[in-house]
Symmetry: C2
Subunit: 151 residues, 2 copies
């Protein structure tokens, strides 16, 4: 039931709290964790726009932003991976660019996980009410159980 | 983290599946379960309307409907309680009348549970999209982690 967990993280406090639950679930049989970070495609696009304002080579600027964001994410992921492996949980790291809830659902399917454990916090109360948080979209679309840890 | 679980059930297949997760969490430290069933106040009201159609004494008819619904629920709850206690998990039973997600949040606070485990299934796709399922409302309003088991 808890053998393979997908743990998506945006490095927020809520995600950090969710990591403690992932570790604790080892007692109930967790052997493997897929550690996922999604670089929000919309955010990336917004950053690329600043390249245009500065009249920079957009293609080159975009690649540079992407490279830096991925690198930053991988450094943070490495630390979490080490934490999980210290607990004796096999850990696979994945960094993707896209719409967060869509990528979470895609990875959950591809990796055939038995559970998704994630933090929840809307960016703002208004956004959460209008669009639903990432967590709620995941619950709507996931076919496996989802555990949501609140901020 | 998993010491005291609130397990709300509407006796659906999704809720039945969620019960298996509750049992499994014993391995991660679950000692106590609050088993909760909510008789939907709107449903009860709709049933009371049929008393009016039949020109029956509404007050008496309402009490009778309520009594039967509670009794039916308590019989089903008794079986689930026995199942949980057989696993060595202390179980407290509660039957309430009201708006399901509101009562779930109220009991979670009152009982100071550490986790809510519940099944999720909208009555219809349209209702789920318009109003959000009970599970989604619980996630919105709960301050403790919520684990959602899909149908």
């Amino acid at each position: 039931m808890f053998r393979k967990i997908l743990y998506p993280t945006d490095f927020s406090a809520a995600a950090g709290k969710a990591l403690e639950y992932v570790k604790k679930l080892k007692e109930a049989g967790t052997k493997e964790v897929v550690l996922l970070h999604i670089i929000d495609g919309n955010e990336l696009e917004a950053m690329v726009e600043t390249c245009m304002w500065k009249n920079e080579d957009v293609g080159k600027c975009e690649k540079e932003i992407e490279r830096r964001m991925k690198q930053k994410a991988r450094e943070k992921m490495k630390k979490i991976k080490e934490e999980l492996e210290k607990e004796g949980i096999k850990t696979k790291v994945s960094v993707r660019i896209g719409k967060p809830f869509v990528e979470i659902i895609n990875v959950a399917k591809k990796e055939k996980v038995s559970l998704i454990v994630m933090g929840s916090h809307g960016r703002s109360v208004v956004e959460e009410m209008l669009l639903g948080s990432v967590a709620e979209s995941v619950i709507h679309h996931a076919s496996v159980p989802v555990m949501i840890i609140k901020r």
